[in-house]
Amino acid sequence: MQGLIDFLSQGGYAFYVWSAFGMTFALLIAEALVLRRSRRTILQRVGRLARLRMQNVPPGEHR
Amino acid sequence: MLSVFLCVLNRDLTLALRRRTDVLTTLLFFVIVVSLFPLGVGSERELLRLLGPGVVWVAALLASMLALERLFAADYDDGTLEQLLLAGQPLSLLVLAKIVAHWLLTGLPLVIIAPLMAMQYALEATAIWVMMAALALGTPVLSLLGAIGAALTLGLRGGGILLSLLILPLYIPVLVYGAGAVSVSVIEIADTQPYFALLGAFLLGGLVLAPPAAAAALRISME
């Protein structure tokens, strides 16, 4: 337990160390999530367009 | 070749002289920005002397950029830019002519009025001369670099703001050495020659590289 607290306090520089590391991994993970979500959105949209096309609706009207 | 260059130069100068307000707005903007600073930071002579070179240069940067938006825009709007692209003449040469005209109309007036601005900042005679020389060497570089940005942002919504975002970071070297030359001449009797050598090198490099780059950008934007 004490070891964990020591580790987290980083010799009293916890604020600087964790701000830097926290922002880094927050941003990298956020980027990965955004990429995944936008991929889904795009696939959904492409799928919807494909469906509309199959129903013989001119695609231009739904852009 | 020369006749084509002179023709475009002459055309742009004639056009500007028929619309004098455009030229005056740039100049006035410069004067106002420079004059606002002492009101903001206080009119202590030592402080002003310290700030002067930087303020004048930043104002020159902004003024030259403000005018850049119009460099190709008017020709783009009335279709004459298309005709320039199809003129069967080297586009770099035509672009250079337009840049030279632009500098004569926006850069040169700044050089000429700079002594007045320098007096507001209590600069001494040597510093004023250095400032004029530095502006004379540096502002053409601003026009050259800016032409690339103006060509890239041609006809875009909010092109002016985008242009400043793209171009201002590229102005840094000119700002650093332009203002540096004046600062050095204010503080002590130092050698300003290396500054002028660098500004001159920028100018030469810009003259060689910027017109083809701006011409390529124009072709991309006109597609």
């Binding site: - | 006749s3 475009v8 055309r11 004639t14 056009l15 009335d78 298309e82 003129a87 069967g88 080297p90």
Partner: protein, 208 residues
């Protein structure tokens, strides 16, 4: 003279035309027709070299125009939707600039004559901003009289022209074609020639 081979153009994500091929020999007028948005202007801009096609080749006297570049530009006269006329310059000055860019040493008299021929006698010293829309267009058309380019590329030249001017323009085109020139033209109206051949090209005939 002009040869188009398997040309495709896209605008944004939309394909305007694919596999377009045609020949344009001397003394021929090509009349390009099609609905709005069928790519007429795009085709004409591609023919000028203003726009790089996505596929295919355009050759001028057997050589690709992308390689000829400025040499090709000197051989064409392009007339677009915009007049290409500076409103703050007079008709005389506008034509003088155009001629200098073509490296064509014209006398002032030739320019005045051209303006007179197009019905603008007495207007040559006025800034074109003071002219009417139709008159501005006429100033631009005066370039056709002065031009020596063998290929004319005209995008909707008849719009905003009165009947007199339309007749004059038709005469000019006919004269150009009869003299061995070639022309590409978009317009919704019918065109006729007294001499020379007319070819027609319908764009957007196949659904996109």
């Amino acid at each position: 003279m002009l040869e188009v081979d398997n040309l495709s153009c896209r605008r944004g994500d939309r394909t305007l035309f694919t596999a377009l091929s045609f020949m344009l020999p001397a003394s021929t007028l090509l009349h390009v027709r099609g609905r709005n948005g069928s790519g007429k202007t795009t085709l004409l801009r591609a023919l000028c070299g203003l726009l790089r096609p996505d596929a295919g080749a355009i050759r001028w006297r057997g050589e690709p125009i992308s390689e000829l570049a400025d040499d090709y530009n000197r051989e064409i006269l392009y007339f677009g939707h915009l007049n290409g006329i500076k409103a703050d310059l007079t008709g005389q000055e506008n034509l003088r600039v155009a001629a200098t860019l073509d490296q064509d040493p014209l006398t002032d008299g030739a320019i005045t004559d051209a303006l007179a021929q197009i019905g603008l006698a007495g207007f040559e010293d006025l800034p074109t901003r003071m002219l009417s829309q139709g008159q501005k267009k006429r100033v631009a058309l005066a370039r056709l009289i002065l031009s020596k380019a063998p290929l004319w590329i005209l995008d909707e030249p008849f719009t905003a022209l009165d009947t007199d001017a339309v007749a004059l323009l038709e005469r000019l085109i006919a004269g150009h074609v009869a003299d061995g020139g070639a022309a590409v033209l978009t317009t919704h109206q019918e065109v006729s020639l007294t001499r020379g051949e007319i070819r027609r090209l319908e764009l957007g005939a196949i659904g996109c």
